[in-house]
């Protein structure tokens, strides 16, 4: 049940006309300002306006906690002997906020279920508050800053405006990429000039982002939702739903990243890449090096490595079971929990942790390379299967639902379901091919490169055709 104040939200999406008008105005004023000090101030005001449009109270919360982190980081340098206290305070504030808003209801319900299981009549305590938009993303940005300052990797910034802008930068605040302070802060502090290169880098990202979101993700989503809402879909239909979701989740998330990066380029910032053909991965480690790169590298640097170092520091040999198993399992559990407060997400994280350990035990860790094309093909096919199965778990409404379907559902529940399977697969194949084309075009010799421009033009034509009308029922016409 949404809380009383959140229904009035009017989320601003990167693909809405409102946002396009907002950005056009911002872009013009921003480049007229010339000096980076004024540009930053203006960009910060615009970022908070963008965020406050969705939820004014949470904008205040974001500004206040970011300011607190800024002063805590300064305190760490000023009072070296109390560095740890400042760090602990920041961790409690940031993780406490994340835990309260995102996980309180989940853990409360889970604890109540356990107590009810042993015969105690306990009602779960429920917090009726909406999740502040982007809290999972901006919390990690803030934590990486405070941890880097604490460990001495970087000096704290002296300008509150610069730091607030790093955290609240509107192209990133809602869904990342989770750029590190060392990547983004120097760009915020530097003078910026308009260069044609910004535009040249931005427009293909914007076109592809719109195409992947409006044409591919939103279309496939309808089919995915239809399948995962069924009580007992046949196993073949479930597999189709998994394949469709595999496409949807990549198209949707990478679209957001593309648009975010394109907008950042137009403002003179180079932000991080988040996806590098993740479905061509050969091993789970390879997958996490290509999928949501800014998150996985954050988890690697702030959870995996410190855990491993801590274990080695306590006398565990690098080849010991604890050093081999605990860091990947705990890191991936954290990843699962970060993705959502639910058992499907936690199990999905655990699933990847177990896969990483299993592959390492088989000698297929991060540095593994296939010996032949056949090896490559086999490794890819196996890994792709794991990925799809993982997404089925991730997208399932609940673990019980999935277990029930795997045990009780026949291959096909009705003759009509065979037709549905073929229809869904036709769409998945068609839209997948459209997504694969840019990669294939890159392989062409220089003289055929004009085909890339043709592809992007056709993609934009499809965007125009697939733009939704103003009412919400438009997209449901096809099913």
């Amino acid at each position: 049940m949404p809380p009383a104040d959140t229904v009035l939200e009017n989320p601003v999406s990167f693909t809405s006309v409102t946002f396009i008008i907002f950005f056009a105005g911002l872009f013009a004023v921003y480049w007229l300002l010339r000096r980076s000090r004024w540009q930053n101030l203006f960009l910060l005001a615009a970022s908070f306006f963008f965020y406050a449009w969705v939820s004014p109270w949470y904008a205040v919360l974001l500004a206040a906690t970011t300011a607190a982190d800024f002063y805590l980081a300064l305190g760490m340098v000023r009072w070296q002997n109390r560095r740890k206290t400042f760090l602990v305070f920041s961790l409690i504030m940031n993780l406490g906020m994340l835990g309260f808003f995102k996980y309180f209801n989940f853990f409360s319900a889970s604890a109540a279920a356990v107590l009810q299981g042993i015969g105690l009549a306990v009602e779960p305590a429920v917090v009726s508050l909406a999740l502040p938009l982007g809290i999972s993303f901006y919390t990690l940005k803030k934590l990486s800053y405070i941890l880097d300052v604490h460990s001495g990797v970087m000096q704290p910034v002296r300008s509150l405006v610069d730091y607030e802008l790093y955290v609240a930068f509107f192209p990133q605040v809602i869904s990342g990429p989770i750029d590190r302070p060392r990547q983004l802060l120097p760009q915020i502090q530097a003078e910026r000039r308009w260069l044609p290169g910004h535009f040249n880098a931005a427009w293909p990202l914007l076109v592809m982002g719109l195409f992947k979101k409006l044409v591919v993700a939103d279309t496939i989503k309808i089919m995915v939702d239809k399948i995962f809402i069924l009580t007992l879909p046949g196993k073949l239909l479930l597999l189709c739903g998994g394949l469709a979701f595999t496409l949807q989740v990549l198209a949707d998330f990478s679209a957001y990243t593309d648009i975010s990066r394109g907008l950042a380029y137009l403002l003179g910032f180079k932000t991080s890449e988040n996806f590098r053909r993740p479905y061509l991965s050969l091993t789970p480690t390879d997958f996490w090096n290509r999928w949501h790169i800014t998150l996985s590298s954050w988890l690697r640097d702030y959870i995996f490595f410190p855990l491993r170092r801590a274990l080695l520091g306590r006398g565990f040999a690098s080849g010991s079971a604890a050093a081999l198993i605990l860091p990947p399992i705990l890191t991936m559990l954290a990843s699962g929990l970060w993705h959502g407060a639910g058992w499907t997400y936690i199990l999905w994280g655990l699933y990847y942790g177990v896969l990483i350990v299993a592959y390492q035990l088989l000698g297929m860790g991060g540095a593994w390379k296939p010996k032949s094309r056949l090896h490559w093909l086999l490794a890819w096919a196996v890994m792709f299967t794991w990925i799809v199965l993982g997404w089925i778990l991730f997208r399932s409404p609940s673990v019980a639902w999935l277990v029930n379907d795997l045990i009780h559902a026949p291959l096909l529940t009705s003759p009509g379901e065979a037709v549905a399977v073929v229809v869904v697969m036709t769409s998945v194949i068609f839209y997948s091919l459209l997504m694969l084309l840019p990669g294939l075009l890159e392989l062409l010799p220089e003289r055929w490169r004009w085909l890339e421009s043709l592809y992007l033009a056709a993609a934009l034509v499809m965007v125009v055709i697939y733009i939704n009308s103003t009412s919400p029922d438009f997209i449901y016409f096809q099913f």
Binding site: M1, P2, A4, D5, V7, L8, E9, N10, V17, P196, G197, N200, W203, V207, D225, K226, F228, I229, L230, T231, L232, L237, P397, W401, T413, S414, P415, G416, E417, A418, V419, A420, V422, V423, M425, T426, S427, F430, E452, S453, L454, L456, A457, A458, L460, V461, V464, I465, Y466, I467, S469, T470, S471, P472, D473, F474, Y476, F477, Q478, F479
Partner: protein, 343 residues
Amino acid sequence: MMRRFLLFLTFFLVLCGLISRDTVVRYDTGYPLSLGPDLGGIETRQVFRQEIAEARPDVVLLGDSVLRDSVDAKAFSSLAGIPAHRIAQGGSASAFWYLALKNSIADASPKPETLVIFFRDTMLTSPGLRVTGDYFAVINEFAGEEDTLLVELAYINPMSWLEQAAGRYLPLYGERINLREILETRLKNTLSGAWLDCRGECVQQALDETFAGEKQDAGEADQAIVRAEDYLYRLEELNFERRLEKSFLPEILRIAEEAGIHLVFVRTKTWRYPDLEDEPAALQRYHQDLAAYLEENGAVLIDFSHDPRLARQLYKDGIHMNADGREVFTRLLAAAFLEQVIR
């Protein structure tokens, strides 16, 4: 690199030009295009007029699937002592209710004395709700070429000026629904036709059967319904004064008055905001304004939105009632009707 952009722009303009030209020729649209759908072509369905002529009710109950699941028309008739007839069109909203009143109920012979419209929260002032996609086919069945107000309020007004300009001058945009349908019909039929010899109706029937409502998980379906109704609670939908002039409500009141039909509006309970204290202040203000407006115009409002007698166990999801709920609600409705309308 700039060369690449110019090449892209050239290709885009050429593709737009070619598709637009083909579209104008194929659909014989003329140029600039007219906005909104073409409602001509099929005869306006008069099924409700016939039903009313046969049933000769004093009261017509009009609404969507919530009415279908919440009210037993026969039980209501006997409890209230008034012959009643129910028109419950699943997936309908204010555009359809306006059409049903204008093209069928107001012209019926004999005319009912009272029309009761069942709605949720801001539905009465959301003219663009449930008029496109699959819902358009139903709207088209009950609309005639002369229903220009329908086109204006339900299809043109909800568009921004940018959308209106694009719809009028860019055939690629104006005809996008048809273009998308062509592509998706091909996607649906190509492989299923080749492999399973199933095309068109056969495919649609298979999809309808596979994804039928009764095969859906109740909890998940409930959440989907809540998400689908989010539209009704957007900030702009909650400003009654601004929404009123762009809605069908004044027209519904005018037609009913001209036809001598007394209007009653029933606000049903949903589980989004079951208690008044949960309801956002803007929604509360909206309903105060709506109630005042209806009273000013001589219509009756029966409000069940926070009725504690309608418990959660009487509902099968966030808006629809189960069999027990229907029995209870029919009784409550009849009592409220006798008290507030017959009195």
